[in-house]
């Protein structure tokens, strides 16, 4: 199970082609190949709302340091899957999660998990950039303080590093006290990623992080995600098949069967796109279905 795709190189080529006006930060790219070691083991996961099952019997391993793309049409349970991983399903009163998600010997489906600590280790980025209506600085400062970083200079270092990692530091360093909502869409999304990174999570969940952005911002964010590879385990939901192909090491294809979301196929990205085992997968990636 060796990862063939050399993402860093491809990324460089793309960058030249698109002539991106932004400079990305100094986040060093991880190992070119991710380690084939399960970071999360999902077994027989089902999610239901109001007793209506939206995701049924999903089992797959998320590999450490890899980017895993979840693809498939809308409403097939991809977002529910993500939410189950950091227990954001708790927020919906009627949601019920069954099965098991193993993370460091802990079963995340259990009620006894300390969700606050868990969410610090598993960060999440949403489709719509959601910086808080506070200053840029406080957007990053607040979560740090809430997680007990009392020392101001420590916080300052972490914030600066995190902003540099997402390539935002040079753009905002002179206006850290300005409202985060005054930033452009792409900047906002990178700020949200910085906000997640500042807590040094192990896993990042991304729910269509580029789909609400304009093409150029979208590219910048995509570059950024690629650079996260190796350092972080990334699970990304995307509707953009080309994007999934460009950045992901692994891909999981979800589909609605009898109104219930199912995992149809899971495997290395290249294999899934080039030699799909399932007819549905083949039809979807060729554009015949979906």
């Amino acid at each position: 199970m060796t990862q063939k795709q050399p993402p860093y190189k491809a990324d460089k080529d793309n960058q030249d082609e698109r002539a991106i006006p932004y400079t990305l930060g100094n986040l060093e790219a991880g190992e070119p190949c991710c380690i084939p070691k399960a970071h999360l083991q999902v077994q027989n996961l089902s999610v239901s709302y109001n007793n209506i099952t939206v995701l049924d019997d999903v089992s797959l391993d998320i590999h450490k340091g890899c980017i895993t793309a979840l693809i498939g049409p809308s409403g097939c349970g991809k977002t529910s899957f993500l939410s189950a991983l950091n227990k954001l399903t708790d927020l919906t009163a009627s949601a019920e999660v069954k099965g098991s998600i193993l993370f460091d010997t802990q079963n995340l489906v259990s009620d006894k998990i300390d969700v606050m600590a868990l969410r610090r280790r598993i960060g999440m980025i949403f489709q719509q950039p959601n910086p808080f209506p506070l200053s840029i600085w406080r957007n990053l400062d607040l979560p740090l303080r809430e997680h007990g970083f009392r020392n101001k200079s420590v916080r300052r270092k972490k914030i600066e590093k995190s902003l540099q990692d997402v390539g935002l530091w040079d753009e905002v360093k002179d206006r850290l006290q300005d409202s985060a909502l005054a930033l452009s869409g792409g900047q906002q999304q990178r700020l949200c990623i910085a906000r997640a990174l500042v807590l040094e999570p192990e896993i990042l969940l991304m729910d269509e992080p580029c789909s609400a952005l304009d093409p150029i911002s979208s590219c910048v964010v995509e570059e950024l995600i690629l650079r996260l590879q190796g350092k972080y385990t990334v699970i990304i939901v995307t509707h953009n098949l080309a994007q999934a192909r460009r950045i992901a090491n692994y891909a999981a294809f979800f589909w609605m069967k009898e109104r219930v979301g199912k995992l149809i196929e899971f495997g290395q990205c290249q294999h899934l796109f080039e030699t799909p085992k399932d007819d549905l997968t083949a039809a979807y990636i060729s554009g015949a279905k979906g």
Partner: protein, 298 residues
């Protein structure tokens, strides 16, 4: 739908101690504020109890009128007076208020100085204390009516003052409801070649009717519960309203007038009429909120 989506935080998922403490503390506050209604009703009922037990309530129904000195506690003349004022006021305020809303929505551009000034005045008048309306009624309106039919303090004066007081509410809620109608509905009607009058009367008003009715019910509740303005202009004679110029006493005015010195059964009767008033107003606001809640456009 928006409500459904947003209310997602709930107690069972509170894993953290500060959250649980806060939730517990806030739930106590909520219970306390809920207790307030219980407290209000309990105290009203406690004070009204001597008037309601031992067949006391029967005296409200059987006696023709209200003469506490003679032990007569019939409240019907005052109920009729209150209702007559309320309906009279609404009857006048509805067409006028709707006209104002229609004009502001369809005939003058909302950004024009005139429209803004008009809206400002309506907003200001909605916030003016009822006692100021009463003052104006007492010193301007009552003498005017008095020239027609002395002494002037009458059902008519009360109706006119109440109509003025609820007009801003009716106009502003109707305006909000009209503004909430999707533009496509109106342009659809215009595309069918309807006249502006037709568009307004047969498309816009029906589409906004829930909001408009809700506003009317709310203002009816306000008219029924109003005390000071009515007390100042209605003459306060307990009698069935047999003419517009007859002085009458509303239920609310009766409480304000006699509460200070009523004792025993008399006092209990006043508290009982307070309970009745609460019940009537509650019915109206309940209907109103049901209407507003079902309104698709606003």
């Amino acid at each position: 739908m928006a409500l459904l989506k947003t209310s997602f935080l709930f107690l069972s998922s509170l894993k953290h101690q500060p959250d649980r403490t806060l939730s517990f503390f806030l739930a106590i506050l909520a219970a306390l504020s809920g207790l307030l209604l219980l407290l209000v009703i309990l105290f009203l009922a406690k004070e009204a109890w001597p008037g309601l037990t031992n067949g006391g309530w029967r005296s409200f129904l059987t006696h023709k009128s209200w003469y506490p000195l003679e032990g007569m506690f019939g409240i019907f003349p005052m109920i009729w007076a209150s209702l007559a004022m309320m309906f009279g006021a609404v009857l006048i305020a509805i067409p006028l208020g709707l006209s104002a809303a229609i004009v502001m929505r369809f005939y003058i551009p909302p950004t024009s100085l005139l429209a803004q000034a008009y809206r400002l005045i309506l907003g200001l008048l909605a916030g003016i204390p009822s006692v100021v309306y009463g003052l104006w009624g007492l010193t301007v309106l009552v003498p005017l009516i008095g020239q027609l039919h002395p002494p002037g303090a009458s059902l008519l004066a009360a109706i006119l003052i109440l109509a003025l007081m609820i007009l801003p509410t009716i106009a502003l809620t109707a305006l909000a409801a009209l503004e909430a109608i999707p533009k496509t509905i109106l342009s659809g009607a215009a595309a069918l070649g309807m006249s502006q009058k037709g568009q307004i009367l047969s498309v816009a008003l029906p589409a906004a009717r829930m909001g408009i009715i809700g506003g009317i019910l709310l203002s009816m509740a306000r008219a029924l519960g109003e005390t000071m303005a009515v007390l100042m202009v209605a003459g306060n004679v307990v009698q069935n309203p047999d003419s517009l110029f007859a002085p009458v006493r509303a239920l609310t005015a009766n409480i304000a007038l006699e509460m200070a010195y009523a004792t025993s059964f008399h006092r209990a009767s006043l508290f009982a009429s307070g309970l009745l008033l609460t019940f009537l107003v509650f019915l109206l606001s309940w209907f109103a909120s049901r209407n507003m809640g079902n309104n698709h456009y606003g």
